[in-house]
């Protein structure tokens, strides 16, 4: 961040209200997008794209979804895994029922099913808060897991109990199924994630996002400013579950190719909650950082011994991995309890005035 925003004066409120008011920030975003859209598909190996980039994007989207609920509205949820499952299973059913409709439309549509289920399980939030709400969302998690196993209609009475992604084409290109190339799948996931992140950022900076944050920071005062807790909380649950549902559908259709109920268990709920907490509550960029930290870092660490030519057995690598990640989580939380995003913001602030202390 070796730049100064000196001389960039805003002469209209419109310019001042922009999401990236600083020119260099806009250039940086454009650069990252160019790398993601052009460089990665051209230079990235299949392993890099399938095992790192696609899951990273999928988890980022799920983390954004959960962050809307936990970080922006202050309602804690442990049902993320199940809401992702709702997205995945409804997308699977939609793909079976409407084989001719473009799969990307179906993936977005499946988000609406997740949103509806999310609103339903969000109803208790009107009466209870904090840890008690966690317990009710946990109930959602277990109920939905049960439904994914016990309602065979959801997986088309398949003997294995798994949902398998059918092959689908968009404009003559195979986009899902075993024969879809990693680059194509990656580009679709990337496009959806970028678009939905942009939308999330728009909502958060507007009236609705402010209402969510008002509820989070001081619900009594929020109500006094005219925010109706019912609408604010349920809309947060709806939008959050929508994001999680789309992430779940993409996880199965563009990454795993097939999934069972284990892909949507409570461990995934925890995983995504950790991403949100470590990345930074109430920060979109933090959601990406959290997903990178929790998902990408272990994959890289696993590849390190091989890369530098040390011969260690796989189990040892795995143990080391747990230790390093665990230590880093503790380290980062001690250094900055508000997550990587805050650390990033502080670093930027310090560098902006560097070499002076203030």
């Amino acid at each position: 961040m070796f730049y100064r925003e000196a001389g960039q004066f805003k002469s209209t409120y419109k310019a001042d209200q922009a999401i990236f008011p600083i020119l260099q920030d806009r250039m940086a975003i454009a650069f990252y997008l160019a790398v993601a859209f052009i460089a990665v598909p051209i230079f990235g190996s299949d392993f890099f794209i399938t095992s790192i980039m696609i899951p990273f994007l999928v988890f980022s989207l799920a983390a954004i979804g959960l962050n809307i609920l936990v970080g922006y509205t202050g309602q804690i949820s442990l049902g993320t895994g199940a809401f992702m499952g709702v997205g995945a299973y409804s997308c699977y059913k939609l793909a079976t029922i409407f084989p001719d409709i473009n799969i990307i439309i179906l993936i977005i549509a499946s988000g609406f099913f997740a949103a509806a289920v999310g609103v339903l399980f969000g109803l208790p939030s009107l009466r209870i808060k904090g840890f008690y709400l966690v317990v009710t969302t946990l109930a959602a998690q277990f109920f939905l897991e049960w439904a994914f196993i016990r309602i065979p209609w959801l997986y088309n009475y398949n003997d294995s109990g798994a949902i398998e992604v059918p092959q689908r084409e968009t404009f003559g290109i195979i986009v899902t199924g075993a024969s879809a190339t990693p680059s194509v799948r990656y580009l679709i996931v990337l496009a959806i994630v970028v678009a939905m992140t942009w939308v999330a950022s728009n909502i958060i900076h507007g009236r609705i996002g402010r209402a969510w944050m008002m509820i989070r920071d001081m619900d009594i005062a929020a109500e006094l400013m005219g925010v109706r807790p019912l609408y604010a909380k349920l809309s947060a649950f709806a939008v959050s579950s929508f994001y999680c549902g789309v992430a779940g559908a993409m996880m199965v259709f563009f990454w795993l190719g097939a999934a069972e109920v284990e892909s949507f268990d409570v461990n995934h709920s925890f995983l995504i909650l950790f991403m949100v907490v470590i990345g930074g509550l109430g920060s979109l960029i933090g959601s990406f950082m959290g997903a990178a930290f929790i998902w990408v870092l272990p994959v890289i660490l696993r590849a390190v011994p091989n890369f530098i030519g040390i011969d260690v057995n796989a189990a040892t690598v795995e143990h080391l991995n747990f230790m390093i990640i665990g230590a880093l989580i503790i380290f980062f939380l001690i250094v900055e309890p508000h997550g990587l995003a805050r650390l990033w913001a502080l670093a930027k602030q310090k560098l902006r005035v560097w070499p002076f202390p203030y």
Binding site: Y13, D16, Q17, R207, R210, M213, D217, M218, I220, G226
Partner: protein, 266 residues
């Protein structure tokens, strides 16, 4: 009386009247048979020793508490049980005794939050943050900037409110209440914990709000000097009962009030 709008009521007429209100929490009687009214355009002070039921009274007026007995008439319309957001949509705005700002947001966003009720562009435009939604943001930003200018807090516009000193927090909170363009502004101890200079600033703002915007104000305050200077009329509560009501000088001379504050020999 039928429902009326603010324009129908001329200055000096009754804006809000509280009749025979009783409020209890279990066995604790917080307010007993209290009646008073607030005239349009006046500054009305509610005073009393600690635990007299002043804050409870404000909470009743803006719908946090529902009194067991009694009626409240606002703008000529008697109201039944109501939620705080309904009171807000009728034009009652307030500040809190313990600053209740949205700590995770900047000063600007906090004050923008006060405009919530005036904003109505739908979810679709909010998603795009373009066209009507963006125009709405800017239109309300203009109003917010006027209040920021009025309260002289331009320099902390983008600062997270959690980093502000106490006096400024109080000022931001006043700003948040003001941008809602309230018909009735309730201030719960606007000067608690302030030094003399901050009190003078705050008093000036309160008078300006009353004079410039014509806002009717009901305030709770412990600093008697401030109350006597600012208020047009004062109501005194003690142990949940009204013990005096009238102009400052009159209340000041009232033996009941003196007894309540200084105690009586038994």
């Amino acid at each position: 009386m039928s429902a009326r709008t603010l324009a129908d009521i001329s200055a000096g007429e009754e804006l809000l009247s509280v009749d025979d209100i009783s409020l209890s929490f279990g066995g604790v009687k917080a307010i007993q048979d209290v009646s008073f009214n607030i005239m349009k355009g006046e500054i009305r002070a509610i005073i009393g020793p600690n635990g007299a039921g002043k804050t409870s009274m404000l909470n009743v007026i803006n719908g946090f508490y529902h009194p067991q007995v009694g009626t409240i008439t606002f703008l000529g319309k008697e109201r039944r049980k109501m939620r705080p957001y309904m009171a807000a949509s009728q034009g009652i705005s307030r500040t809190f005794q313990n600053v209740a700002l949205f700590n995770g947001m900047s000063t600007l966003d906090n004050i923008m939050a006060g405009r919530t009720l005036k904003m109505n562009k739908n979810f679709f435009w909010q998603m795009l943050r373009y066209g009507p939604a963006m125009n709405e943001e800017i239109e309300h930003r203009l109003v917010v900037e006027e209040i920021i200018d009025f309260l002289e807090i331009e320099h902390i516009r983008k600062t997270p409110v959690s980093q502000l000193p106490y006096g400024l927090k109080k000022r931001v909170e006043l700003g948040r209440a003001l941008v809602a363009e309230p018909t009735l502004l309730l201030l719960d101890e606007p000067m608690a914990g302030m030094n003399l200079e901050e009190k003078e600033d705050m008093s000036r703002f309160i008078i300006d709000v009353n004079q410039q915007f014509g806002t009717t104000i009901a305030l709770i305050e412990h600093d008697m000097g401030v109350v006597m200077d600012l208020a047009d009329r004062v109501v005194v509560l003690d142990y949940g009962r009204k013990i005096s009501d009238g102009e400052p000088a009159q209340v000041q001379a009232d033996q009941n009030v003196i007894d309540a504050y200084l105690g009586v020999a038994h």
